[in-house]
């Protein structure tokens, strides 16, 4: 079966006064129904920009977008990048939906949450407002809001952060979308609430058989919920693979560096953290060659200064495991173990 979403060579750049900001470059990935793909990266790595392009949410006058994002609908494939904006608008909320980091600014403060959910339902369903509100109560029940029939009349400010995120999820799922993009859905929440929301997302995915793209910077969250992951750095995917390989056989020095730089609650030895030196490059003037070179500990292992001149390709080094690095597999094995990391 074809994956539900296929992104092919997607690039997004923004012309600005200071120059062209290459926010995401040549991104390709796919997600199937029932599968969770994590897009991991630090701020400015291009993870949100990429998914907003898939949703057709960029202002086409402000952004240069190329490539394809194909939704394999029952009625046939649609490329959300080249399709008419009206066509894409009719897919949003129905075939693909999105939830955001900050539910307070994503919900309208003046309308009751029932009205807001009913409005989303009414876009694609025939029925009275009462039907919409009934559906809203069902959805709120489903996402675990106690006393849903009462709370449906309340306003966003009357809900706590975790409850608001549940409302967002209810609204996103009201039309039974096939793809859900969750952009840092738990970053603003406390850990005990985070685990509630992650569990809810997992349950909803099973219930609706959705493809889920989870955007996050938290490698702990990724390990818990994702089936596959893309690691992004400076607008490019640097590594993509099944989830266990990312953690136990990372194939890019950036991924190796990230895993060694995070303190872990389950490791009490108090080892010194291995920080990645320096900071990410500006997206306006990306260096020649590999974007990670200036922070990479292993670039001198590559002959002829290749890291400074040639942009590495995203190669499939082992089946299903892609990495954008000039190092050979043997060198990477060494890098993994010398980093004292997970391997």
């Amino acid at each position: 079966m074809k994956p539900f979403l296929e992104v092919k060579n997607l690039s997004v750049s923004f012309p600005t006064q200071d120059g062209l900001v290459k926010a995401s470059n040549d991104i390709s990935f796919s997600v199937a129904r029932g599968e969770t793909l994590a897009v991991v990266g630090e701020s400015g790595s291009g993870k949100s920009v990429t998914t907003l392009a898939v949703m057709g949410l960029h202002n086409r006058n402000a952004a240069n977008i190329s490539g394809q994002a194909i939704l394999n609908l029952e009625t046939g494939p649609v490329d959300t990048i080249s399709a008419n904006p009206e066509v894409v608008r009719k897919l949003r909320g129905k075939s693909m939906a999105m939830i955001f980091q900050d539910p307070m600014s994503a919900l309208h403060p003046y309308y009751s949450i029932g009205d807001q959910i009913a409005e989303a339902w009414g876009l694609y369903n025939e029925g009275s407002k009462a039907d919409g509100l009934k559906r809203a109560v069902e959805m709120l029940d489903l996402v675990g809001i106690p006393g849903a029939s009462k709370r449906v009349k309340e306003f966003p400010h009357q809900f706590s952060g975790g409850m608001r995120q549940r409302v967002m999820i209810a609204m996103a799922l009201v039309n039974n979308p096939s793809l859900l993009i969750a952009d840092e859905p738990t970053t603003a929440l406390d850990v005990t609430v985070q685990s509630q929301i992650l569990k809810l997302l997992k349950d909803m995915q099973e219930e609706f058989n959705m493809a889920v793209i989870l955007i996050t910077h938290d490698l702990g969250v990724v390990a818990e919920v994702a089936d596959r992951a893309c690691v992004m750095y400076a607008g490019k995917i640097v590594e993509q693979s099944a989830i266990d390989d990312i953690y136990y056989m990372p194939d890019h020095p950036y991924t190796i560096g990230l895993l060694n730089s995070i303190p872990r609650v389950d490791q009490l030895e108090g080892k010194r953290l291995q920080a990645i030196p320096g900071q990410p490059p500006s997206l306006i003037s990306l260096p020649r060659g590999c974007s990670f070179r200036s922070r990479c500990t292993y670039s001198e292992l590559v002959p002829n200064n290749k890291c400074a001149t040639d942009v590495p390709n995203l190669d499939e080094k082992i089946s299903g495991h892609f990495s954008r690095c000039h190092l050979t597999e043997a060198q990477l094995v060494k890098a993994r173990s010398s980093a004292g990391g997970q391997a």
Binding site: E42, V191, S195, A223, I262, P263, V265, A275, I276
Partner: protein, 328 residues
């Protein structure tokens, strides 16, 4: 035994909440911090953790007397500073400093880095050897900033670099105690490790004591010697790091630890997870009895009536629970 650098005895900070308007009626009291007993030894790091609204930030600020404590005692280097006036506090401030969470809001955008760091000397009327400028450049170098950037403004630096400016400012007068309020939570992971390592190094170099306030248990676990877990203004449990993380006795500590995602998929899948129901109750109107009783999975009738006292259960291990978990 070494003399503690900081000692808190039953520290409380309550805020009166009023309705505003012409009558300004009293609505209630928010017990942001409701009794902390704590000793911090020189060169030691104590982590103060909890979820939003648990009072950890208020506690950190009250320790430095940025808020006036409502009750209890703050003893700094053997001196009771609870009742000291602002003026009396000023010379002591050189010994106790703070690092703030938001490196964007905590630096004056109109001042250069040189002015920002140098101001600490002016305020205390201290003339460092070799002059302020030279000392500022030395400090910048020490925290990993390029001293040539001394005339730049905060907006010309990245988040991680700004936090280094905050650190340079805090260590300028060689303090004995630094209260760090979420110093790395606004930073990206790869930068976070750089700042955590810097704090580690400075502690070793200057024998600093840290009160490290944070919500991220992974970071707290890494940096702390001892940890205090707060919930709705109350201390639930405090213990040496190993005891707390390997053998949490309070149901809240246990749930909190189990909720932290671990970057290890196989371990993550097999881990037993306690998912707490519901949200934090409002601190304006905390539940009677144990404040955690509305979300606790072990709750019994006693918990809804009687406030559990914070009792010493082992050396350096205090616990406030009627029905604690067995020791592991």
């Amino acid at each position: 035994m070494t003399e503690p650098i900081l000692k808190l005895e039953g520290l409380k900070k309550h805020f009166e909440s009023t309705s505003g308007g012409i009558f300004n009626k009293k609505k209630g009291t928010v017990k942001a911090v409701d009794g902390i007993d704590l000793e911090i030894l020189p060169g030691e790091t104590v982590g103060l953790v909890g979820e939003s609204g648990c009072g950890k930030t208020t506690a950190g600020r009250t320790v430095l007397k940025l808020y006036e404590p409502t009750e209890g005692k703050i003893i700094f280097q053997g001196q009771d500073i609870t009742k000291l006036s602002r003026r009396q506090m000023k010379p002591l401030r050189a010994q106790m400093q703070m690092i703030f969470q938001d490196p964007f809001a905590s630096l004056n955008p109109r001042q250069t880095v040189g002015t920002l760091i140098g101001a600490t000397f002016d305020i205390q009327g201290i003339k460092p050897l070799g002059g302020v400028k030279q000392e500022v450049e030395r400090l910048m170098e020490r925290v990993g900033l390029n001293p040539e950037h001394v005339n730049r403004y905060p907006h010309e630096f990245s988040g991680g670099q700004r936090q280094r400016i905050g650190v340079a400012r805090a260590i300028a007068l060689k303090p004995k105690l630094i209260v760090a309020d979420e110093p790395v939570s606004a930073l990206d992971v790869s930068i976070q490790a750089q700042v955590v390592n810097l704090l580690d190094d400075l502690q070793e170099e200057f024998g600093l004591a840290y009160l490290f306030v944070a919500h991220d248990l992974s970071v707290v676990q890494h940096i702390s010697d001892r940890v205090v877990v707060m919930y709705l203004g109350k201390v639930m449990e405090q213990a040496d790091k190993k005891d707390l993380f390997l053998s949490p006795r309070h149901p809240y500590t246990k749930a909190l630890l189990s909720a932290v995602p671990v970057p290890d998929p196989i371990k993550g899948r097999s881990r037993e997870r306690i998912i707490l129901s519901g949200d934090l109750p409002s601190p304006m109107n905390p539940p009677a009895g144990c404040v955690f009783n509305t979300r606790c999975w072990k709750v019994q009738d006693k918990c809804r009536v009687e406030v559990p006292a914070l009792l010493q259960i082992a050396p350096n291990h205090r616990l406030a629970c009627h029905f604690p978990e067995p020791a592991a």
